[in-house]
Symmetry: C2
Amino acid sequence: MSIPRAAIVVTGTEVLGGWVSDRNGPWLAQQLGAVGVDHVSTTVVGDRPEDLWAALDHARASGIDLVVTSGGLGPTEDDLTAAVVADFAGRPMELDEALEGRIWAIIEPLAKRWGHTDPAALRAANRKQALVPVGATVLEPVGTAPGLIVPPADGTSGPTVLVLPGPPRELQPMWRTAIAVDAFQAAIPGAEVRGEQILRVYGLPEAQLADTMREARAAGIELDAIEVTTCAHRGELEIVNRWAPARAAVAESFAAFVAERHGELVFSQDGRTIDELVFDLLRERGWTVATAESCTGGLVAGRLTDRAGSSEVMAGGVVAYADEVKRRALGVDGALLAEHGAVSAPVAQAMAVGALDRIGADVAVATTGIAGPGGGSEAKPVGTIFLAVAARDGASLVRHVRIPGDRFAIRDRTTTAALHLLRRLLRGETDAG
Amino acid sequence: MSIPRAAIVVTGTEVLGGWVSDRNGPWLAQQLGAVGVDHVSTTVVGDRPEDLWAALDHARASGIDLVVTSGGLGPTEDDLTAAVVADFAGRPMELDEALEGRIWAIIEPLAKRWGHTDPAALRAANRKQALVPVGATVLEPVGTAPGLIVPPADGTSGPTVLVLPGPPRELQPMWRTAIAVDAFQAAIPGAEVRGEQILRVYGLPEAQLADTMREARAAGIELDAIEVTTCAHRGELEIVNRWAPARAAVAESFAAFVAERHGELVFSQDGRTIDELVFDLLRERGWTVATAESCTGGLVAGRLTDRAGSSEVMAGGVVAYADEVKRRALGVDGALLAEHGAVSAPVAQAMAVGALDRIGADVAVATTGIAGPGGGSEAKPVGTIFLAVAARDGASLVRHVRIPGDRFAIRDRTTTAALHLLRRLLRGETDAG
C-alpha cells in the first residue's frame, strides 16, 4: 500500500500578508511526518472563500488523501472555513444543538468577564460555531471553536479534511485528539507511525555531514530506506532520522555510524537541546550560573532564563557593553583593556571571573566580540568572538571563534557557542587544570 | 483593468518539513502588496520537481498572472527550480556562456577559500547555474545564483514566473532589481504602486480598534476603498494602510481619524518602531541607558543592543534574577525586598536607581515580575509586572501592568512595556516631578 499523502492549508489574511508568522504549518508538518504521512505542500490563503476552495480543489486534483486546515473557525463573518469545507465535501451544514449548548457554556462566562453587552450578537456567534457539516466528526473545543473531521460525501471522492482552529494553543491539543479518531485514521490507511531520533552536532561543517552520508551509504547502510533530514540551526546541525517500524535497524546503524565518525561533536542523541543539557548539568552539580556579556548584550542571560524553573540555576549577570562598564561593574583591569583591547581572550576571562565575584555564582560565562556591521579591523574582523567560562573551583576555559553571518546571526550563534563552552566545563574540561 | 494576481511558491524540503522557518514568503507578500498586485496564496513545496510543477500548474489553472518562486537555484542536483520552470513555460534550456564566465569569476575565489579540490565538480556546478530558459531575462547573481524572469512561451498562456534564490540576503536585493525590469512589469499590466503608512498603537485593546473602524465608516470615511490591515505584534497594534494613488485622501482621513480618536496611544505614524524612537530620543539627549532586569532576564538589554550603532546609547545592565543579586549587584535594600517582595513597585524603582549608579548611565529601566508558569499567587498572579525608569536628573516613572499569555509572551511583551516607559520619560514625563 502506498504512503498516504497530505497537504496543509493555513488560512488568514494576516498570515498571507506576512504580518503574522505562521506557527501552525511548520508544527503540523512535523506531526504529519510522525504519523507516517507524506506531506506534499503547505499553502497559505487569505480569508476569501474562493481562495480556500481553490486550495482544496487543487488538493483533490492532486490525489491528496488528507487536508489539514488551520484558522477561520471564529465567531465572525470572516470565519468561513467550516462552511467552505462542507460545501467542498458535498455535505450540507446543520445546527448541532447539543454542541451549541456546550459552546454557550464556554463563551457566556468569557463574555461576562469581557463586559460584552450584546446578547443577540453573542447568541448568533454561538450558533454559527455550532453549525457542522452533516456526517462530520466534531472535535470538542479547546478554546471556543470546535474542530471537524470532514470526509467526502458518500459516493464522491476527494480528501478528508481535518479542520482545526488557528491559535496554536487550541490547534495542538486538538490535533492530538484528532489522530486517535477513527474518521482520521480511515483517511490515511496504511500509514505507519514513524520512529524518530534527533542527533545534534556542534562544530561540524555542513559539507562534512554530506561526506559522512556518502560514506554511510558506501558502508552498506541503506539510507534511502529511512528519512534523514539535516538542518543548520543557530550554529548547530540537527540530523533528524525517521523510519517506518520495519526499518528501525537501518536508523540505528546510521546513528551509530555518525556517532562513531564524529565522536564528541555529536553532543545529543536523546533529543535534548544544548539549553536543556546545560540546565541538567547545572542542576546535577547544584550550581548557579552567572553571565558577563558584551557583544551578545543580554541574549545569553535571556536564553538561560527562557525556560520555566530557570531560577533554580540562574543567579544573574552583567551586560557590559561599554568598556567603562567592564571596569566598573565587572572589575576588569583597565590595563588589560588597554593592552589587549576589549575583544580579547584575557578580557573575556577577566569578565567571567568578575561575574563570579560580582554576581555570586558557582560558574560564569563571558562573551566579547565584534557583531558588526561596523567595528571590524584586519586583525579582528566582524565575527571575531572570545568566550570564557570560569568556575569558583578554579576550572576555566577560553576560546576564540570566528562566526560568519550578519549581526543577528553572529549574536545568536555566539549564545550557542557560550552554552557549549559552559557544557564542556560542566563535564569536567578545563584549560587551567 | 482588473488588479493583477500573484502567487508565491517557496521551495525547500527543510522549509516544508518545518525544520527551517520561511522568511521569504512573508517578505515577498509585503512587496507584492506594495507594487499593487493582489497576492492570492503562498505555497511551500519540497525539492521534488513534480510538486513544484503541480504548484505552478495550479497557478495557471487559477488564472494567476505572476508566480514568484524562492529557492532551488543552487549548484547541486536537488536544485531544480530553473529546469522545472523552463519546462512549465515551454522554453528549452540553453547555456549562457557569458553568464557562465561571470559566475565562474564569483565562485572560483570562493572555492579556493573553502579549499575546494574537485575542479571538474566545480565546473559542472558552474555550468548548471548558467543554463537558462530561452527567452528568459537573467537577473545577475547577488550570491552565486542568477535569478530569472520567465514569461510563457509565445502562443501559450500562463503566468510569468519570477525565479529568485532562497537566501534572503540574495532574494531581497534581486527582487528590487527585478521589479524595474520590463519583463516583470509586462506581467502585471495595470498594477499601481501603492502608498503605505503604518500607524503604531500601544495600550489599546484590539476590540476597540474594531469599534474605531466602525465609527470611521459611520463618519463617512470610505474604508473599503483602501486596504487596512490590523495586527497585534509584541504587545502593540499595527495598523497598515495601503492605497492606490487615487485613494490617498481616504487614507489620510482615516489616519487623522485614528490619531484624533486615540491621541497619545498612537505613538508612531512615520513607520518608526518603539526601538527606533527610543534610540533616537536617547541620541537627541546625548544620554546613555542602563538596564536592571529580573523577569526579562536580559531581553530588554538584548533588544537595546539589537541594532548596529547601539553602543552609542547603551552602557550596559544587570540581570538580577536571584534576590541576592538584586542586593549584591544593584544595591537593593534587603528590608525593601522583605517588606514588599521582589515583585513590587519599590523594588522596581530601587533596581532602576541601582543600575544608574552601578552601571553609570543617564537613565535606567528596570523590570520585575512573574513570568510563570509557576510563582503566581492570588495577590500577584502570573503576568504581574512592575516597571520603573529613573534618570540621573531625578525624573522617574513606575508602572504596574498585567500581561496575558504564556511565559514567552509575558517576557517578550514586558520588553515592549519597558521601552514604552523609557520613551515616556525621555519625552519629559515624570511621576516625581
